[in-house]
Amino acid sequence: MRIGVVTFPGSLDDVDARRAVGMGGHEAVELWHGDHDLRGVEAIILPGGFSYGDYLRCGAISRFSPVMTEVVGAAQRGMPVLGICNGFQILCESHLLPGALIRNDHRKFVCSDQRLRIENNRTPWTSSYAEGAEVTIVLKNGEGGYVADEDTLDRLEGEGRVVARYLGDNPNGSLRAIAGITNERGNVVGLMPHPEHAVEDLCGPGTDGLGFFTGALTQAVAAGLLG
């Protein structure tokens, strides 16, 4: 499967994401923020970092980059899209996902090995995990506090759209300890922790993140999980 990884000016984790895609058995395709086409990819990752320097708001300027017009269109047609950290912020700014990410409530940058529970394994990005699986994945953010109004939070919970939740102490003030969510269709996933940093035993807390990049993605698409 060809999985595109978009590089914006200020992206940091695009190389790690491409590497994780390869380790997951897929072909990583470099996409540039100024691109007007998606080069035939079948899924897209928006990586972490500080696109456009986090100027204005995290993800606010990236949303209007040429490639995002293509990404939004593809997402609306059902293509799997995963936004990690800054990618999650871009997906919220693009209105592909509800809510927003604000500065951590304790005002400090957090960088830790974070325990998570995978609460929805019906997305193409999480289908290799057991529902309720507890995993450890790197978390590193300054503006990772997930917020949305109560109605939106209730809807996300009621529709099973909370994909991952923080375990233990809430690391950044996210409402209802939400670490990741999906859209109604289940093809777009935003995740604040970084699975691409948890794919090897040598560096990082283990390989719990690899499941986001493995063959389950292909299986999910083949099985019509995307509707």
Binding site: L56, R57, A60, I61, F64, C92, E93, P98, G99, A100, I102, R103, N104, D105, H106, R107, G145, V147, A148, G173
Partner: protein, 91 residues
């Protein structure tokens, strides 16, 4: 040339850690009697010609699309020198 000002503030119910940090620093500087601080953003737009209703409508669109995120922020548009705010936007 005219100047149109857009002030963007976090909605009251959204936590403002930066404002809290500023507020926390005030007593150390000897400032007392300040109960709360909220931090926002001010944009000054230099626009061509007169500020017509059409120009203001476009500024409102710009403010609601790029300058603010309606999920977490409200904005107010002023024409500089005019004094009167041209509508307060709450999503």
């Amino acid at each position: 040339m005219s100047r149109v000002v857009v002030d963007v503030m976090l909605k009251p119910e959204i936590l403002d850690p930066q404002g809290k940090a500023v507020h926390g620093a005030l007593p150390r500087l000897g400032f007392t009697g300040v109960n709360d601080v909220r931090q926002g953003k001010r944009f000054e737009l230099e626009v061509e010609g007169e500020v017509t209703d059409d120009v203001l409508a476009r500024v409102h669109e710009l403010a609601g699309t790029l300058l603010s995120n309606p999920v977490i922020e409200d904005f107010v548009v002023h024409v500089e020198g005019d004094g009167a705010p041209h509508g307060k936007h709450k999503a």
